[in-house]
Each structure stands twice: as C-alpha cells, then as structure tokens.
C-alpha cells in the first residue's frame, strides 16, 4: 500500500454486534468502497474447550465437542469418540456403524440447509432463508424423535451409539428426505439460475486450489475447485459404513477458471454435497443390520484408558475436523486434547481473500466459505 492511500483509509469493525457477523469481529481497512486490509479477530466465543476436555471423562468429552458446533452435532462429536475408540481398541457393532453414518449424513444435510438459508439472507433474499429452514425442521424433528433433543444430540458413544432407531424415527427421517428430494431441484434452479445471484457471486472470492490448500482450507471449499479431497473416501474409517454404499466424491469444475472456485461454485458444490448425503442415507437405510447398538463392555473399557495417542478425523460439513487425544496410563481424563476445526482455516483465509474486493462483497466471501465461530474459537 502506498502511503497516500493509507491516509484516506478508514477502519471499520465488522462485528461483533453486526447482524451478519455472527458474534465475531473483523477489522477492515477501507479506501473508498474497496477493502485494502482485512484483519480477522478470533476469540469472542472462546470457551476453552480444550482445557475443559482435560477435566471431563471420556463419556462426557463428546458432549463438549458437540456444543462447539450445534449445526453438525453428530459430526462434531465423532472425532472424540473415534479417538477414544482407537485408544481403548473398542469394536463397534455393525448396526451402530451404519446408524452413525446415517445420522452423520443427516446432520450434514441439516447443517448445509442452515448455511444456505443464512447465505440467502446475507445476499438480501430473506425468503431464501426461510424456505430451507422449513425443510430443516423436518430433520430436526427426526433428530428429536431419535435422541430426544433437536440440537445437542449426544448420539455417538465410545463403542457404539446411545439410541436405537425405531419405526417412527426412520419414518420421520424418510419424510424429511422426501421433502428434501422434492424441493432441492427447484431450489437449485431458483438459486443457481437467478440472474441477481449470479451477479453477486460470480468471480467473487476467487482462489485456486493450491493456494487454498496452503491456507489450510478443506472440505467443500476445496472440492469446489475440482479436487475430490474427502476423508470419507481418502481415509476410510473402520467405525463408519461408507464402504457399504456406492457413491462418488462430488466435485465442481468450472470451465471459466479451472482449478479455481468462486462463491458461485461453492454454492453449487454444496448442493451436490446435499445430494450425495441424501443418496448415501437412501442406500444405507434398508441396509441397517439387526444386532446390538453398543458393545456392552464399552462403557467399562472407556472408563479408564491405557496410555496412548490417537488422532480422530472426520470429514465434517465444513472440512477436515480432527481431534488429537493423548492419555496417560489408567487415566480417567485426557492428558491433552487438541481440536482442529475446519473453520479455523477458512476464517484465517479471509485475511488473504478479502483485500481488493468491495465492502459489499465481503459478506458474500465469508458467507460462501461457511464459517462457524465455534470451530475457530472452541
């Protein structure tokens, strides 16, 4: 920046009271209508989850994890459960594996629906907020029927799951899926073919895959560049049942800028994610085997863990979600737990993505990266 420009610059705090900054704050340096510098600030949601985990036993830890991101609660609690299972060497019953996978995918759909409604509001169409949120209610009802809670589900436990499917919960899940599959193509037309949506999102927040990987971006933000980077395929998890169904990693490629993605591509990528998740659930639902849902000795085994280290990973809605767990011998609580949230990277990348764009596009850029403050503040 040359000094004359800096003289004219104004600093604007975007947040934490701003309606579309959902509780976080970014310091923007503005010259005219253009942002020349962006300094994202974290910490407004910091609840010291990592320190808290050191004082909770291995059954309780998952509850803290799911509170980091209520939208993808099934997915958020899984890395912890997975790490505990690795250290305790628990076997997960077949039925629990499939049920976990189904609920994780349902959670992904629900989270993406929420995001897409929020993105609609950020772009100024409030109707697009409420339409997907109506569909989302059906998933929430299904979650409530299954676990008794709409958001804080606490479903997976070391060695299995806590609640069994019953006829009604399966029916409610299917009803939610029916409604989704009925309405999704219409919504896709309404959004991706809308001229005003194209005006706002094309060529906005453009980055190429190599650069995005260097920033640490993952999940749909990288898949939108045309790279099928997906832990569900790359790092198959023996405690989940993704290999039981036939699916492809969805990617978006754009002829205008191969290997790069803009906000429009990220939107269309997330529609494909929803479709893939729906098809996985559809394939898995008839395949749920009979049997126990949890290893009866799991609770005793997870009470005290041997010394060890484990790295639990899952492909979350927003990208690679991991938890590093280190235990001392015969410990009731973790020695160290490190949470890696996917949005830590996407929030950081605003620092590089935003400068040069206009003030109005800032909303579109961060909205399209699907940030969730729980994941970076923890």
């Amino acid at each position: 920046m040359c000094p004359e420009i800096v003289d004219e610059a104004a600093q604007v705090w975007f947040g934490p009271q701003h309606v579309s900054a959902h509780g976080w704050a970014t310091k923007l340096t503005i010259v005219g209508d253009y942002i020349v510098e962006c300094d994202p600030n974290a910490g407004y949601f910091h609840r010291s989850a990592e320190k808290c985990l050191e004082f909770r036993n291995f059954q309780q830890g998952a509850l803290i994890m799911e509170r980091l991101c209520m939208l993808e609660a099934f997915l958020a609690e899984y890395p912890y459960v997975k790490a505990v299972e690795q250290i305790a060497q628990l076997d997960v019953p077949e039925r629990a594996r499939v049920m976990r996978t189904i609920m994780m995918e349902a959670s992904r759909i629900h989270s993406l629906q929420f995001w897409w409604g929020q993105f609609g509001a950020e772009l100024g169409l409030f109707a697009m907020t409420l339409w997907p949120w109506v569909d989302r209610e059906y998933f929430l009802d299904a979650f409530e029927e299954l676990t008794g809670s709409r958001h804080a589900v606490s479903y997976s436990a070391p060695g299995g799951v806590k609640y069994d499917f019953n006829e009604k919960s399966i029916k409610m899940l299917e009803r939610a899926l029916d409604r989704l599959e009925d309405r999704l193509p219409k919504f896709r037309d309404m959004i991706l073919r809308s001229p005003t949506f194209k005006l706002r999102t094309k060529k906005i927040g453009l980055f190429d895959a190599a650069q995005g990987l260097k920033w640490g971006l993952s999940g749909p933000n990288i898949k939108a560049c045309g790279i099928p980077m997906d832990l569900r395929k790359d790092d198959p998890d023996p405690n989940l049942a993704y290999e039981m169904c036939d699916w492809e990693v969805p990617v978006t490629t754009n002829e205008d800028h191969p290997g790069q993605c803009d906000a429009y591509d990220r939107m269309s990528q997330r529609f494909k994610e929803i479709e893939t998740s729906a098809s996985i659930i559809r394939q898995l639902l008839p395949q749920v085997p009979e049997g126990p849902i949890i290893d009866p000795k799991a609770r005793a085994k997870a009470n005290r863990l041997p010394e060890g280290e484990a790295y639990g990973r899952v492909e979350g809605t927003r990208g690679v979600t991991t938890l590093f767990l280190k235990t001392a011998d015969k410990a009731q609580t973790p020695y160290r737990a490190k949470i890696r949230g996917p949005c830590f990277a996407s929030y950081y990348s605003l620092k590089h993505l935003v400068p040069g764009s206009t003030f109005a596009d800032f909303v579109v850029i961060f909205g399209s990266l699907d940030p969730y403050p729980g994941w970076w503040d923890r």
């Binding site: 104004a10 604007v12 701003h18 309606v19 579309s20 209508d33 609609g120 509001a121 950020e122 772009l123 100024g124 169409l125 409030f126 109707a127 697009m128 907020t129 409420l130 339409w131 109506v134 809308s194 005003t196 949506f197 005006l199 706002r200 206009t358 003030f359 109005a360 596009d361 800032f362 909303v363």
Partner: protein, 380 residues
C-alpha cells in the same frame, strides 16, 4: 449622626399614592392582554370564516385524500407488506392482534414511539432531531397532487409533476445528511449509497414520466390522468411504465436495489443510529414513498380514476393502486440484493436508453398511426 444628608422619604404620602399605582399597572397589563386576545380572536374569526368558506377543501386536506387517509394507508401498507412477505416466505405474517393481525402495526407503532431515544455522542443533536421529520414532510407533501378522482384531490398545480419530483429530490439529501451526522461509519456508507441510488435512478424516472406528460400535453398529474379517459398510456408506453416502476424501486431502496439499507452489509444503512420515534418516522417515510410511487404509476400509466365503469372513480383508483402496490411488494420479496455499482450500471446502461426509446417510438406512432392522435384527444 449628622454626617451627610439623610434622604427624607415622605412615607405617608408614598403609601397614599400606592393604590393608584397598582391600579395603573394592573390596568396597563390588562389592556395589553386584552389587545393580545383581540388580535388572536380576530385571527380565529378570520380563519374560521376562511375555513367555513373552504370547509370542503379542509375536509379533503385533513380527512379523506389527505393526512388521515394517507397515514392509515401507510399503516395498512406496512401490514400488507408484512402479510405478503410472510406468505412468500412460507410463514403467516402477523396474526395475533386483531383480525388477521390488523392491530399488530398499531401496537408496533406505539412500542416504537415509546422507546427510549438514544442519541450517539458523536451525532449532531440538532440535525438528528430535525432530519426525520423533514424527511417525512418531504414525502407526505406530494400526496396533495395525487388525483384520486376528478373531485377528490387536494391541490392541482399546472406543474405538479415537477413539484413532486422536486420534493422527492429532498429525500436523498436527508438520507445523506442523516448518515453523515449520525457519527458512525456504517451510516455514512449508507448515506452515500442512498445518494448514489437517487443519482442512478432519477434520470430514468423523469425521462419515463416525460412520455405521459408529452402525450397529455400537460405537466399536471391531474391533467395527465384526465387525458387517459379513452386510452391508458400503459398500452402506448409499456416500456416506460416498467422503467418508471423499476426506477421507483431503486429510489425507494426496495429489495433488489436496497444497498442503502442493506442489513447484512451495513446494518440499516443511514437509519442505523435512529431510535424510537425518529426511527418510526424514517420507517414510515419509506412506506409513504412506496405508496406515493404506486399512486404516481396509476395516475401516469393506468388511467387514474378511469377504467372500470361499474365502480365509482375513487374506488377505481384505489383498486388499481392496491394492485400496483401488491406487485411492487411481490417483486421486492423475490430478488437478491444488487451491489451498488451494479445498480448504477443497470440504471444507466439499460433503464435510461429503454425509457428514451419508448418516448421516441410513441412520438413516431402519434405522427404516423392514423387516428391515434384523435383517440388521445391531442392536436389531431
């Protein structure tokens, strides 16, 4: 004792004169008050005589097409907007208070008026207090020129169209000023965006209204609406009608073009720092503007009070007015917000040439299509 002169006061004499003094003072004061009352009373008498002689006009100005009616229609349009938006957004809109939630808006207005007024430290207090009222006045005055029918109107100037636009030009100035004096960066950005919106859309708006004015041979809104007794100008100037409507949406800062009050970007734009009654005024001014443009569209393009013979003229006008209003609300609930530079590009690249083109085509049509001029009642 004995040093200097002792001023001797004849205390008894002074006391004996006191009653007449008091009488003088009181009678002087009384005559002053009496004169003042006389003066006021003469004004009242004069005004009363004027009012009695103009009672019909006074009734119109205050009750029916005037202030009370307009205020109630603003409240109605707030309710109507919420209801339509609710239906579009798969929800019900207000429904708790009154029939179909009709009292909800009154409750909201009372709540807003009763709220504490918080004036930011950096705001200019005088301007902060004056500007919202100024805005509301500037938007309400042009309603005097809306011809609800040939009898029901308040004022008819020979240049009322121009005067209306002149009053509407005040609005962005007020927006810019109130963004500036609120002492916040968000409001300042919003103020500039509001000014930019007006700058972008005013020329297409005025050019679009040139068409009807030219065909009617009059700059009075009344004259234009009366000239459409046989043929609505919408049929002759369809493109102008659309460009007028779109420019009106831009100026009113409704949804596809609501960058000045974009809530996800700059909170509430230039209105962010207003609170309580001041916010209510700016909020009502927006709806008043929307109503005003709906009225103008009906008067300029949809034949004013002419059209459906089975209805009285006033109902005719109101019926068309509601349809236009409904259409505007529907449009504003179904688009994403455009960026500021895109709004300007859109207005200057597309709206301006289109509105000019339709005017030129209409001119040629009058000259070369036989019988058209006669139908319109001009020249011939």
């Amino acid at each position: 004792m004995g040093v200097g002169t002792i001023l001797q006061i004849d205390i008894v004499g002074w006391l004996s004169g006191l009653p007449s003094w008091i009488y003088l003072v009181i009678s002087g004061l009384f005559s002053l008050v009496w004169a003042f009352f006389n003066w006021i009373w003469s004004i009242v008498v004069w005004f009363w005589a004027l009012a009695i002689s103009q009672i019909w006009w006074l009734f119109k100005a205050i009750v029916f097409p005037g202030l009370v009616f307009i205020l109630f229609s603003i409240i109605f349009s707030v309710w109507f907007t919420r209801k339509v938006w609710g239906r579009v957004q798969a929800r019900r809109g207000p429904f708790h208070l009154g029939k179909y939630g009709g009292l909800q808006v009154f409750a909201d207005a009372i709540k807003l008026i009763g709220k504490e007024i918080v004036i930011p430290d950096k705001a200019k207090r005088w301007m902060y207090r004056i500007l919202p009222s100024l805005l509301l006045i500037a938007v309400l005055v042009p309603f005097a020129f809306i011809p609800w029918s040939n009898e029901w109107y308040i004022a008819d100037l020979s240049v009322s169209l121009i005067v209306t636009f002149a009053f509407l030009t005040v609005v962005p100035v007020v927006s810019l000023l109130s963004g500036w004096i609120s002492g916040s960066k968000y409001t300042l950005i919003g103020g500039f965006r509001a000014a930019n919106n007006q700058f972008a859309a005013e020329i297409p708006l005025i050019i679009s209204s040139v068409g009807p004015a030219m065909l009617a041979g009059s700059l009075s809104i009344m004259g234009i609406s009366q000239a459409q007794s046989s043929l609505w100008y919408f049929l002759l100037l369809p493109v102008n009608c659309v460009t007028f409507m779109v420019s009106a949406t831009v100026i009113t800062a409704l949804v596809p073009f609501d960058a000045p009050v974009a809530d996800s970007e700059i909170l509430f734009g230039w209105r962010t720092e207003f609170s309580g009654i001041y916010f209510t005024m700016t909020y009502f001014a927006e709806f008043a503007k929307q109503l005003l443009f709906s009225g103008l569209i009906v008067a300029l393009f949809f034949g004013g009070s002419y059209g459906f013979a089975f209805m009285p003229p006033v109902l005719n006008f109101i019926f068309k007015f509601l349809i236009v209003l409904f259409f505007m609300i529907l449009v504003t609930s179904s688009f994403y917000r455009m960026r500021q530079d895109q709004v300007t590009h859109f207005c200057w690249k597309y709206l301006l040439p289109l509105s000019l083109l339709n005017v030129v085509i209409a001119m040629f049509a009058i000259v070369y299509v036989p019988g058209l001029a006669q139908l319109l009642g001009i020249g011939g």
